[in-house]
């Protein structure tokens, strides 16, 4: 049974980044400042740069202290942003309503306990067979509930517990690609009538030395001197991790109409791919995805999720300039930092808000980004993962909200 394809609308946004809390706060700031200033922690993680969390009153979205205690920052951030999105979509905190909402979360893993890890390393030093000591130390020192704060699927679990979203619950893993697949899957299910309304998004907590260690092993971190994403050049490139919680409420148009919800924008197509990370192949995959969107270079805002690695960022930027020379191009990682599982939905959140408010985004980087030529009526959001996975989607402006 092929149902009539449903329009997929964005009816709620929950966005937290170093710039602030809530989509309105972000748009206010971008509407007010001629050259928005990123918020960057330069000391605590030197020589690296991290876009930190703003001050957050967790209780506003996670009322029970007991729930807060069960989570580390990553899960709290996601649960908080999910709550913002549900509230923004004006979905009542009524269990019968929320029990019918689907959910796809893009998640990595949770925080380790750095003090315990340091203790294990100290005790293991010099031992030829350290395993018995490691076992004893971990068994005695790890908090029993820390595991629950680490498990990837427990962000979704916490959202179910705190916000009562239980229609379905799926957690996608895999860095930037997880966010791309989450949006693509949620949208495809709604378009095909398999779902009516879906909470989709992710969270990334950047202020974690355990993660910075991984990224430094990979040689991916920007260091010593911060520059905007498009200004990062070979030898002085890399990403600056950014704490972001970004959730969207995606909804079938008729479902939104039935409950009188207004939408930010229409999600007109989401595509993801992967393959060898070299110039020709990467460019060809991006080009093929752009072909599938049928997007025209007209009142177009491009929010590029480029990570700041000089090569892939350069390939993407050149292709987009070639295809859409008139478009306003912004690298949103300049302001948010790079947010992995949450990166794609953060770009979509910003694009949807910008379209809805009919905002002309100021350049995020005066050297590399041009002033906007008027209000955009459609937006292209891209995310080229730092090492694997690429995706993009198109948003179209609606009547307004």
């Amino acid at each position: 049974m092929k149902k009539t394809a449903q329009d997929v609308l964005i009816t709620g946004i929950g966005l937290v980044s170093s710039l602030g809390e809530g989509i309105e706060a972000h748009l206010d700031r971008l509407g007010r400042e001629a050259l928005p200033q990123p918020v960057i922690e330069t000391d605590a993680y030197a020589p690296y740069f991290v876009h930190p969390l703003p001050p957050i009153d967790w209780t506003a979205q996670i009322p029970k202290k007991g729930d807060q205690r069960q989570m580390e920052t990553w899960q709290k951030l996601g649960t908080f942003a999910a709550g913002l999105a549900l509230a923004d979509a004006e979905i009542p905190a009524d269990e019968t309503v929320r029990s019918r909402i689907d959910m796809i979360v893009a998640a990595g893993g949770g925080e380790r306990d750095p003090a315990v890890d340091a203790l294990v390393m100290q005790r293991a030093r010099g031992l030829a067979s350290p395993q018995a000591v490691v076992n004893e130390t971990l068994a005695n020192e790890l908090r029993p509930t820390l595991f629950l704060a680490q498990l990837s699927n427990l962000l979704a679990g916490n959202i179910s517990i705190v916000h009562k979203v239980t229609g379905s619950s799926r957690t996608f893993m895999g860095e930037e690609g997880a966010g791309i697949s989450a949006v693509a899957t949620a949208a495809a299910r709604i378009a095909a009538g398999q779902s009516r309304i879906c909470l989709v998004g992710g969270a990334f907590s950047a202020e974690r030395k355990d993660l910075l260690l991984n990224f430094e092993l990979g040689g991916f971190l920007l260091r010593d001197e911060w520059r905007p994403v498009f200004a990062r050049t070979p030898g002085h490139d890399g990403f600056a991790p950014g704490s972001v919680g970004a959730f969207l409420v995606l909804e079938a148009a008729d479902h939104a109409a039935e409950r009188g919800a207004t939408a930010y924008a229409r999600l007109a197509g989401t595509h993801g791919d992967r393959g060898p990370r070299e110039e020709g192949a990467t460019r060809a995959r991006l080009a093929e995805m752009l072909d599938r969107t049928g997007l025209r270079d007209e009142d177009l805002l491009i929010l590029s999720g480029a990570a700041g690695l000089a090569e892939p960022t350069g390939w993407e930027r050149a292709l987009l300039r070639e295809r859409y020379p008139e478009a306003t191009q912004r690298a949103y990682g300049t302001l948010f930092g790079h947010a992995f599982e949450a990166h794609f939905t953060a770009g979509i959140a910003l694009a949807a808000g910008t379209l809805s408010r009919r905002l002309s985004l100021p350049p995020f980087d005066r050297g590399e980004e041009r002033a906007a030529r008027g209000e955009p009526s459609r937006a292209l959001v891209t995310t080229v993962g730092h090492s694997q996975s690429e995706g993009l989607c198109v948003l179209e402006r609606l009547g307004g909200r």
């Binding site: 029990s99 293991a124 908090r143 799926r170 996608f172 899957t185 398999q194 430094e216 092993l217 992967r274």
Partner: protein, 425 residues
């Protein structure tokens, strides 16, 4: 010939290939022989020192050639072996599969062996901890170690090996993950996004820290003395699950496509049901309502009522909580019929393969349908009188089966039930 669509007019989803690896062996045949003979794959752990651990047994897979051993590499090797078997059975070519990949994989992170290796390097502040490791890493980049921390690394490698299409989905719904991977494949085929998909669940993550984490939540059996007898689902003296490794893979395909290319249809994935629990991070809602809703949704999606289910492949973890809640949920849906519906737990023999369990148990459900043999629940010597069930105790049973219900309930509240049925005549 019957129609290619289901009772709602959706494309019927055929299973045309299966593959499996568990502690019982590699491949469908070795596993099915052992499973129907009531053999256990649980043993004392030899992979690492278990000194100071409360649980010293597991269903580790120790026969895969993975060197050096990491959770990412072992999980990959298991998934690849199961996937290649399923692709070969389906008569599709590895390297040119052409459909999407849905992979249930365990969360991974930097391993202790790598932290220790870094900590042994010189020339950084002496104080142990991440500041020191960062300082060392700055001069010792390692793309290989970094790759082991990437959650999408396994699916990337499989995508290249199998020739799958598009961006693979790597997912976790904890102990329901394998079933969720199948569900995603079924939905994609029903939408018409693809003609075929491969769903895999894999888990090769038995490490000391993983055991300790589950131990700290009192989830694991500590009946170490007789490893093969520790996993005893539905028994009165059950005291927790036994961690295990393995992988299961299924090639899913629209029935129309399978018929058009003359592929043998092993079974039909008739229904998927899902419902999340909002009660607690490790416990089910006391009234079992999410489990009940999950099972009902699976049956409804298949267009069947409970009376059409001939056999239940239980989640049956052997924890006091799970087995009681599964019974409560099934009782509500099946009513009096439950007493006469055989139900067994593969976990009594292979242990709890966590992320892989839903996929492995779906593979065994297909084999149950195909062969008319119900694998037993072994170690059922001391029935729990509070959960009276026909558990197919200790010995396999011959019985024709037309439809199987396979349950998977995840830590963190994610529940999935699958209905797998014989191919339409």
């Amino acid at each position: 010939m019957s129609t290619d669509t289901d009772f709602l007019g959706r494309p019927l989803v055929a299973i045309t290939g299966i593959g499996v690896v568990s502690s019982l062996g590699r491949g469908v045949e070795a596993n099915w022989d052992a499973l129907t003979a009531g053999r256990s794959g649980i043993h004392a752990i030899t992979r690492f020192s278990t000194e100071n651990l409360r649980t010293t047994i597991a269903g580790t897979v120790d026969f895969m050639p993975v060197e050096p051993l990491t959770s990412s590499d072992l999980s990959h090797a298991l998934a690849e072996a199961a996937g290649l078997e399923a692709l070969a059975m389906a008569g599709t070519k590895a390297g040119a599969f052409g459909g999407p990949l849905f992979l249930a994989a365990p969360p991974i992170e930097l391993e202790w062996q790598h932290r220790f290796a870094l900590d042994r390097a010189d020339g950084a502040i002496d104080e142990p901890g991440y500041d020191r490791l960062l300082e060392i890493a700055r001069r010792n980049h390692s793309a290989d170690i970094y790759a082991l921390t990437l959650f999408n690394r396994i699916s990337e490698r499989l995508a290249d090996r199998f020739g799958t299409r598009g961006l693979p989905v790597t997912l976790s719904t904890a102990c329901a993950s394998g079933a969720t991977a199948i569900q995603l494949g079924v939905e994609a085929i029903r939408r018409g996004d693809c003609e075929r998909a491969i769903a895999i669940g894999t888990d090769g993550s038995v490490t000391p820290e993983a055991l300790i984490r589950f131990s700290l939540l009192s989830a694991l059996s500590t009946q170490n003395d007789e490893p093969a007898k520790a996993s005893k689902p539905f028994s009165r003296d059950r005291d927790g699950f036994v961690m295990a490794e393995g992988a299961g893979a299924l090639v899913l395909e629209s029935l129309a496509s399978a018929r058009a290319r003359g592929a043998e249809v092993l079974a039909v994935l008739a229904g998927c049901g899902e419902k999340a629990d909002d009660f607690h991070r490790t416990r089910s809602k006391p009234d079992a309502s999410p489990i009940i809703a999950t099972i009902r949704a699976g049956l409804d999606d298949a267009g069947l009522d409970a009376g059409a289910i001939d056999y239940i492949n239980a989640h049956g973890t052997s924890t006091p909580e799970n087995d009681r809640m599964e019974f409560t949920g099934l009782s509500a849906v099946f009513g009096d019929r439950l007493a006469e519906t055989p139900i067994s737990s593969n976990k009594s023999m292979i242990g709890h393969t966590l992320t892989a369990a839903g996929a492995i148990e779906a593979v065994f459900s297909v084999l149950t349908l195909r062969t008319g043999v119900l694998p037993p629940t072994i170690n059922y010597a001391n029935p729990d009188p509070a959960i009276p069930l026909d558990t197919v105790p200790n010995t396999a049973r011959r019985q024709p089966v037309r439809a199987v219900l396979s349950n998977s309930f995840g830590f963190g509240g994610q529940n999935v039930s699958l209905v797998i049925a014989a191919p339409p005549q």
